[in-house]
């Protein structure tokens, strides 16, 4: 479609606003233009936080020489003619105001050549003043160079954050595009240093590995196609999410794309994180790239021209699709696997190294393969464990997790070892009154007795609540407990929830309560003291998807066997047996791991037996 001026009515209907408010918004527009032009390679260069230079070079269709001046006029676009089109928007740019807006506030230059032209054309615009276009030698594609952004708008310049911050925002944006389009090879250089580069082969996990590091590769689990009963009509969620072992302290590595457009949407985040609930520690966030496809008429991308926000006509069903897919993926992907401990390559036998601390990191066989791969050049080009797929954005090879281990073989990686559920364990003893040591079919297991018991208690509370059959043990004589102000506040807020899990507690004078009954399953603990701890945690906010859940998690935690409590062999066996029967034996309600695994192979390696 040739570039034409938009009808005035259409201009009015488009959400206006400042398109270019910071370097990242300029870059975003340029990259979107390149994608719209069908580029397969996009190189981005950033200098001085974008204020120095932003340059985007693509190998897309290019702009015909005759149309180049038009491209720099406001509301000139080749992508939209009628308002109705806006509702069925497939391309990313549509307002036809990006290039002129950028050109108005920078030392701007665009050079482009279409495939059927023999030469390219270059057009410079200095702070809105266009020079005549001139022919130049160029390869097919477009190069847009933006120097000295906001050089003529000092007020805007002052408004910018530190170069580092602006750069981080830009890199994160480009990363999002690179993840959205693994079929496009992106490379980003910041102040002449390579930040990341994807290979453009279409493998979405390979793209994530290039950007976020090797550990996400083997941790990626593909979102399954939901069967008919579970599917949400009109919405599909594809992509991948990470195993609970691979987490971040931020949500930057958890991206959602709606019809190919990166969006930030809290309900979707929550729907996804809820699936990890109790598997991931408080304050940690999973990684993943989730693509949502739905009828464009069911989503409004025009909420704000520069912010990645969307409005769904039916937000709940979109969230439901995400949540179901994530639940399914997590429960089918190695549901019971135990994190494995690697003692690293610390060779204790090396002279002078005796006192070097051994670093323990939870890991998986797959990670081992990735971790061992030669990535030393810092290009971010990891091994490519997956066969390229005809350039299209397709899912992961199945099973995703194992493929890393098979393609990049490592001496001790045994691809034949199946995923480990919690195996049958033989309890050997206790360390520090806190960790149960057990022998399994493949090496040694270390179990945190408190976390393990907490998991058992938590699931028992849940199952009793689900069956509506909470057993209570009333007191002969109510137990009077004095509370602090905060504890009493938490009690008042949680009376109904405490009752639901089996307590019966009544107010009894100022900041004092009478425990009349306790949950039968909590027998044998100092319930007054434990109630105070539960209320302390709740006063701090608790953790859980609902308040009831927070109360249940806290109650499970504070009525569990504690660290430092000596257990008999029989008690330890009983606990391990109970843990084996839980649905999520690997983490307690708060998300801490319950067990670590030191494999036979690792032991042999460390003892130099092989």
């Amino acid at each position: 479609m040739p570039i034409r001026l938009l009808d005035e009515r259409v201009i009015g209907k488009i959400a206006a606003g400042e398109v270019i408010e910071r370097p990242a918004s300029a870059l975003k527009e340029l990259v979107e233009n390149s994608l719209d032009a069908g580029a397969t390679t996009i190189s981005v260069a950033i200098q001085k936080g974008g204020s120095g230079l932003i340059e985007v070079v693509d190998d897309g269709a290019g702009i015909p020489a005759a149309e180049l001046p038009l491209a720099l006029q406001r509301h000139a676009t080749s992508k939209l003619t009628e308002w109705d089109d806006l509702h069925r928007l497939a391309s990313l740019g549509f307002r036809g105001e990006a290039l002129p807006s950028i050109a108005a506030v920078s030392d701007f230059s665009v050079r482009s050549r279409t495939a059927d032209a023999s030469v390219g054309t270059e057009l410079d615009v200095v702070y809105g003043v266009a020079r005549p276009p001139r022919p130049v030698a160029a390869v097919t594609g477009t190069r847009v160079t933006v120097r000295d952004l906001f050089g003529n708008v000092p007020a805007r310049r002052r408004f910018l954050r530190q170069a580092g911050t602006e750069t981080a925002i830009m890199v994160r944006n480009i990363a999002a595009y690179a993840l959205a389009r693994p079929d496009v090879a992106f490379s980003v250089t910041v102040d002449d240093r390579r930040s990341f580069a994807t290979d453009g082969r279409g493998d979405e996990v390979a793209a994530a590995v290039a950007i976020w590091g090797t550990e996400v590769g083997p941790a990626a689990i593909r979102l399954p196609e939901l069967d008919e009963s579970a599917a949400v009509p009109g919405v599909t969620a594809t992509g991948w999410i990470g195993l609970p072992e691979v987490t971040r302290s931020h949500r930057n590595s958890l991206l959602f794309f709606v019809n190919g457009r990166w969006v930030q949407n809290r309900p979707l985040l929550f729907a996804l994180e809820e699936a990890y609930h109790s598997l991931v520690m408080v304050g940690r966030h999973p990684v993943g790239v989730i693509r949502i496809a739905l009828d464009p008429a069911m989503v409004d991308v025009n909420v704000h021209p520069t912010k990645a926000e969307v409005k769904f006509v039916d937000e709940r069903s979109v969230a439901r699709a995400v949540s179901r897919a994530a639940h399914r993926a997590l429960s089918t992907a190695r549901p019971n696997e135990v994190p494995e401990v690697h003692l690293g390559d610390t060779t204790l036998r090396e002279p002078g190294m005796e006192n070097r601390p051994i670093s323990l990191r939870p890991s998986t066989p797959g990670q081992r393969a990735w971790g061992a791969s030669p990535l030393g050049d810092g290009t971010g080009f990891g091994p490519r464990p997956f066969e390229p797929k005809d350039g299209a954005v397709t899912g992961l090879p199945v099973p995703a997790v194992r493929s890393g281990a098979t393609v990049v073989p490592e001496p001790e990686a045994d691809p034949a070892v199946p995923a480990r559920p919690v195996p049958v364990l033989r309890v050997l003893g206790q360390v520090n009154g806190t960790y149960i040591i057990a022998e399994g079919p493949d090496g040694m297991f270390m179990i945190d007795q408190h976390a393990a018991h907490e998991r058992v208690m938590y699931e028992r509370i849940l199952s009793e609540m689900q069956g509506r059959r909470i057993d209570r043990q009333p007191f002969l004589d109510p137990m009077i407990v004095e509370l602090t102000h905060q504890q009493y506040g938490a009690f008042e807020r949680s009376t109904a929830e405490l009752e639901a899990i089996g307590f019966q507690i009544d107010p009894f004078g100022p900041q004092t309560v009478a425990i009349r009954a306790m949950p039968a399953m909590m027998r044998g603990v100092n319930i007054g003291e434990r109630l105070r701890l539960i209320l302390d945690e709740l006063a701090e906010g608790g953790t859980g998807e609902s308040w009831l859940d927070a109360v249940a998690i806290s109650a499970a935690c504070h009525t569990s066997i504690r660290a430092g409590q000596a257990l008999s062999l029989a008690e330890m066996r009983e606990l391990v047996a109970q843990l084996e029967q839980t649905e999520q034996p690997r983490a307690c309600g708060h998300g801490r791991p319950t067990m670590l695994h030191l494999s036979q192979g690792e032991l042999e390696k460390q003892f130099a037996r092989r």
Binding site: Q473, P474, D477, A517, V525, N526, I527, G528
Partner: protein, 375 residues
């Protein structure tokens, strides 16, 4: 000496910051050898006859001494201490050991019963006392939520001794006779753990046990034959247990001990996975001549369920109640003879266990709070 050492060693501290508490005190006293140990919770002192040549005292590692002495042939043992060096020399036949010790001056003073300075004293039949302790000690609290509940309320009143325990969910009260009537009432709380030790020390003794409270009123002393037992006391107010005991029971069940014990035990295996819930359904007989039955049942979601029927003499209405099986098996383990009286007051009021034909009928009372189940 072997016996004395093993008796006393129960009061030796196992883990202690104070090394001398891991030792045993040996001292000559009025022509006998005094052997004592304490962990500051309890203390045990015993005297054995000895030919004392020179006075002397020392403390030595309790385990080492006991182990050494245990392997010696059954012949007199000669003990000597070199005053200047804290070393105990043990000689027997051709065996000899020198055990390094700690000066006896470092050992805590263990008060002894003297009859005059004690604040209070009474005497009681040893086997009766042991039996009384057995009837109550298990119902003391094992957690430290309320320190007094980890103790045994011990009350002397006229010619009666009352022991009571309560862990919040159940209570046990046992009454017994004192050898003589006392001029004043006295009440204290003895740690249940100490009571158990005392019962063990009593063993099959036949001489009356002399109980006393030290002048400082913070320790209990018991003389059992040639041995003295000392325990610290728990300070505080014990709940008014008498007031918790139900005054009457709506349903009274008399049931053969053996049959009931077995029914409860069978159910308890199934109750294990279900919060130990055991249900008791009381079905009175159609008329005076027909015996009633009680049904004892338990369900475990995964394992299955059990039901047992036991004939019983029932007065009162049909009733159903759920108990924690442990609370029942605990009491049924100590009620060793005769029939059992089960007094019930519906699913939400405390129930009671007594001896069916006891005289007086409240010589033993065990009260349990039922569980509230919604399944």
């Amino acid at each position: 000496m072997q016996r004395a050492l093993s008796q006393v060693s129960r009061a030796v501290a196992s883990k202690t910051a104070l090394p001398v508490l891991a030792n045993i005190l040996l001292s000559t006293e009025e022509g006998r050898l005094r052997i004592a140990a304490t962990n500051l919770e309890i203390g045990i002192t015993t005297w054995i006859s000895a030919a004392v040549e020179d006075e002397g005292k020392i403390t030595v590692d309790a385990r080492l001494l006991a182990e050494f002495v245990n392997t010696l042939p059954n012949a007199p043992v000669e003990l000597s201490v070199e005053p200047s060096r804290s070393v105990l020399t043990v000689r027997s036949g051709r065996d000899k050991a020198g055990i390094n010790g700690i000066d006896a001056e470092d050992f805590p003073v263990i008060p002894s019963l003297d009859g005059e300075t004690d604040a209070f004293s009474a005497s009681v039949d040893p086997q009766q006392l042991r039996d009384m302790i057995a009837h109550v000690e298990f119902a003391a609290a094992t957690d430290d939520s309320r320190p007094v509940l980890a103790g045994v309320l011990t009350r002397f009143e006229e010619n009666q001794l009352t022991l009571a325990t309560c862990d919040g969910f159940r209570l046990a009260i046992r009454k017994g006779a004192l050898s003589e009537s006392l001029p004043e009432r006295f009440e204290t709380i003895v740690p249940a753990r100490a009571m158990r030790e005392m019962a063990r020390l009593i063993g099959d003794a036949t001489e009356p046990v002399q109980l006393a409270i030290t002048q400082s009123r913070n320790q209990l002393l018991a003389r059992i034959g040639e041995t003295e037992f000392l325990s610290r006391l728990i300070e505080g107010m014990f709940p008014d247990v008498m007031q918790i005991v139900p005054k009457e029971t709506a349903t009274r069940v008399e049931v053969g001990r053996e049959a009931f014990v077995n029914a409860v035990r069978r159910a308890s295996y199934f109750a294990r996975d279900n919060n130990d819930v055991v249900r008791i359904q009381v079905n009175p007989g159609e008329d005076e001549l027909m015996p009633g039955t009680i049904e004892v049942s338990a369900t475990a979601a995964e394992r299955g369920n059990s039901q047992s029927f036991v004939d019983a003499a029932i007065t009162g209405a049909k009733d159903q109640v759920a108990f924690n099986s442990r609370y029942l098996t605990d009491v049924l383990a100590v009620v060793r003879h005769g029939d059992i009286m089960l007094g019930l007051n519906g699913p939400n009021q405390a129930g009671m266990v007594r001896y069916a034909n006891a005289e007086p009928d409240d010589s033993y009372t065990y009260v349990i709070m039922p569980m509230v189940t919604s399944g």
